[in-house]
Symmetry: C2
Subunit: 159 residues, 2 copies
Amino acid sequence: MHRICTMKNQLNKKQEELIERYGVIQEQFGLSPAAARVNGLLTVADQLEFTFDEIRDVLSLSKSATSNAINTLLTLDYIGYRTKMGERKRYFYSKLDQWKDKMEKGLNRYQEYNKTMKEILAQRTPETTDYNNKLEELTQFMDYYMQEAQQIIKNWGNL
Amino acid sequence: MHRICTMKNQLNKKQEELIERYGVIQEQFGLSPAAARVNGLLTVADQLEFTFDEIRDVLSLSKSATSNAINTLLTLDYIGYRTKMGERKRYFYSKLDQWKDKMEKGLNRYQEYNKTMKEILAQRTPETTDYNNKLEELTQFMDYYMQEAQQIIKNWGNL
DNA sequence: TTTTTAGTTCTTGTGTTAGAGAACTAAAAA
DNA sequence: TTTTTAGTTCTCTAACACAAGAACTAAAAA
């Protein structure tokens, strides 16, 4: 059974450009180039669900690159997939929701940062008053910011 | 003129551990291992100012590693230096302030992200209503978050 | 003038990452 | 039973980042 070329999942120039731009941004957030492009494709394309091989074809990636990219994105919960009755293949889609979740988790990283800053402050000589005060102000600012930011996120939806 | 060992800038165990921990966190924020340790040293040590060679000695870094680390940190404005009358060497210190600045600049990265998201939304087919609505909610959430976060930062100091 | 100081820049080695391609696997179809 | 599908895993290579050490430089000291 050979495949008929349907041009179904063809992208236009603008979409290609947006996938690249989105990809670059995502790389800066720590994704590999391939993972960033896959995520871009699933975000930009009009087609909402892509199979493994469609992703491969459209982005010209090797099987291993595709496999690894998909699994990273699944682990990070950036994408999900569903299956269809009587088919084995998976249909991958972008998870646009739970951005709020990710933002909240992002804040937790600062929590850890601040924990270390407080420990640094705690063990310092009391002699460097000026410096210590600045350090203390910083830790307080971070506590304040994280608390307020959490509130901001919670408020969204019911304002 | 040979150098007498003064043990002046010796660190205790706790300080060493904190420099390493702080360093790891900073690496996650994109610094090279050496730059992260230098920044850690200048943050943790009781001694507030270190010369090039003191940094080298305490952290056992090569000249090139030290030089590159210092210059990255200067460029990023994580550290500064001053000089003393009649001396050529520079005394480096941690810039603890302008954290607010950095936070604000951090928000700008999301601004760019969101700009791209809006462009993605703008060029999408109107057919995928559900998806488009989610995407729109996301861009609105990000606008809202950034605005509020900016406000939070501005409010600090005069509450 | 020569030497020392305070670095910077260049060269080289090492380790890590990303991804291609091939080999492999497990389930379903033929 | 053999083949196809839908991937995963392994091997290998190219590219790159980090840092050591040597060579270099410009200003100050001797």
